[in-house]
């Protein structure tokens, strides 16, 4: 997830303050790892802050929103409430990008890969790097 930040540029208003990675749903191990990351790394000059709630909270202003597989099953609501907010949406499960996520984790041949929708990323106000397309297992657009 941290590696993804190299390939996107957030709008100016998101380049100030803390870089918030918001995890929606329960995944204790991921939270532990992300908190370790936050203690060691920055995105540009921004410190990383990890937020986590069991269900989606539209008031959280985040640069990345990751939806756990359980939450990814019903994501329409999340995307409709976050258009043009400069947020990179990451989901996990079948059809995530078709529902509005920019990146969606999928398992192919026992390996964790991702599908990518450049259009979805652009729609949320992110500037994208075309090199990223080559890294995706599937490009949706």
């Amino acid at each position: 997830m941290y590696s993804f930040t190299r390939y996107f540029e957030w709008p100016e208003n998101k380049k100030v303050g803390e870089f918030v990675i918001y995890v929606v749903g329960k995944n204790d191990n991921l939270i532990v790892e992300l908190k370790t990351l936050a203690g060691k790394k920055k995105v540009g000059n921004q410190d990383i802050e990890i937020r986590n709630t069991p269900t989606f909270d539209p008031t959280v202003n985040a640069q990345i929103i990751y939806l756990t597989p359980e939450i990814s099953k019903n994501v329409d609501d999340v995307f409709s409430k976050n258009k043009n907010k400069g947020t990179l949406f990451i989901s996990e499960g079948a059809g995530g990008c078709k529902q509005g996520a920019s990146i969606n984790f999928i398992v192919i041949d026992n390996k964790l890969k991702f599908e990518y929708s450049k259009n979805n990323a652009v729609k949320t106000g992110l500037k994208t790097n075309d090199d990223f397309k080559a890294l995706a297992a599937i490009n949706i657009d």
């Binding site: 941290y2 590696s3 790394k41 398992v107 026992n110 390996k111 964790l112 890294l135």
Partner: protein
């Protein structure tokens, strides 16, 4: 003519007398060696028996070679038991070998076998000690091979497959534990793998060998996953994932063999749960997580 005949007779009698004196001298020495052995004057017994067995008149007497074996065994017992290379032990074995070659009677065969079994057991204990106390697999294997060689001298038709499995499993288990606790110890990994594969060669369904090989592959995968830092680029991460998946598949192959034979084997069930997680196979991971819970295995 009669004069010459008499001379020859006297000469022959002389030779026979001398020969008898020689034989009597050897018999006397044998009695002395036997006595020295009984009174535990082993150093002198060694000198005495060695001079008899070299003598052309007595060198083919199996009783002497057996006695020599017992005398040397007494000396070996006093200070060489823990030595991998002991000329005294070698002399015991060589003496028994020679005695057996000379076709001894049943009583001597029994005595020889008893002695050789004791020597073989000593080698086996030494192999175990070198493995468990000194963690020296190379010397341990030498001791184990000597055990087999000597044991087969006492019982040439013996089949040592069960002993081989026991020994190589001990080596494999010890070194796989070392490797699992210290993934950087590649020598331990290699030693364990060679030993466990040897077990599977002899007994393909051996549960412990399969589990240990599976857990080792799984641990290499875990270690490889952990080598990915936050800065690892996505192309590199892909290569690492490829290797992790291969290792997890290897682990699955070994552990499934055990599970198919015994579906309540706790180690196998837990290892399969973790392996399927590593393979991102949620369905199977959940299935084995449930089995873990049913078997009372903690899954937190």
């Amino acid at each position: 003519m009669t004069k010459w005949r008499n001379k020859i007779k006297i000469l022959l009698l002389g030779i026979m007398l001398l020969m008898n004196v020689g034989v009597f001298a050897q018999v006397d020495k044998l009695n002395r060696a036997q006595h020295l052995y009984e009174v535990k004057d082993i150093d002198n017994a060694v000198g005495c028996i060695d001079s008899i067995v070299r003598h052309p008149e007595t060198k083919n007497d199996y009783t002497l070679w057996s006695l020599r074996a017992f005398i040397y065994f007494e000396k070996y017992k006093r200070g060489d038991r823990q030595k991998l290379n002991s000329p005294l032990r070698d002399s015991v074995v060589a003496s028994v070998r020679k005695s057996m070659k000379l076709k001894p009677d049943a009583n001597y065969v029994t005595q020889n076998k008893k002695l050789i079994t004791t020597i073989a057991s000593g080698y086996y204990n030494l192999a175990k000690n070198l493995l468990q106390d000194s963690i020296d697999d190379v010397k341990s294997l030498k001791a184990y091979n000597k055990y087999k060689e000597v044991f087969l001298l006492g019982d040439p038709t013996a089949v040592l497959t069960a002993k081989d499995i026991e020994y190589y499993l001990a080596v494999g288990s010890l070194f796989s534990d070392i490797f699992i606790n210290d993934n950087a110890n590649l020598k331990a990994q290699k030693t364990a793998k060679v030993a466990l594969l040897k077990v599977l060669e002899l007994q393909p369904d051996n549960a412990a060998a399969n589990i240990n090989l599976g857990l080792m592959a799984f641990n290499v995968g875990v270690n490889l996953s952990r080598s990915m830092g936050f800065d690892t680029d996505l192309t590199q991460a892909d290569i690492i994932q490829e290797n992790v998946a291969k290792l997890a598949k290897q682990a699955e192959q070994y552990i499934l063999k055990v599970y198919k034979i015994d579906n309540a084997n706790k180690k196998a069930v837990e290892a399969l749960w973790l392996t399927y997680r590593m393979l991102f196979d949620d369905k199977k991971a959940d299935e084995f997580k449930q089995k873990c819970i049913e078997l009372g295995i903690k899954v937190d």
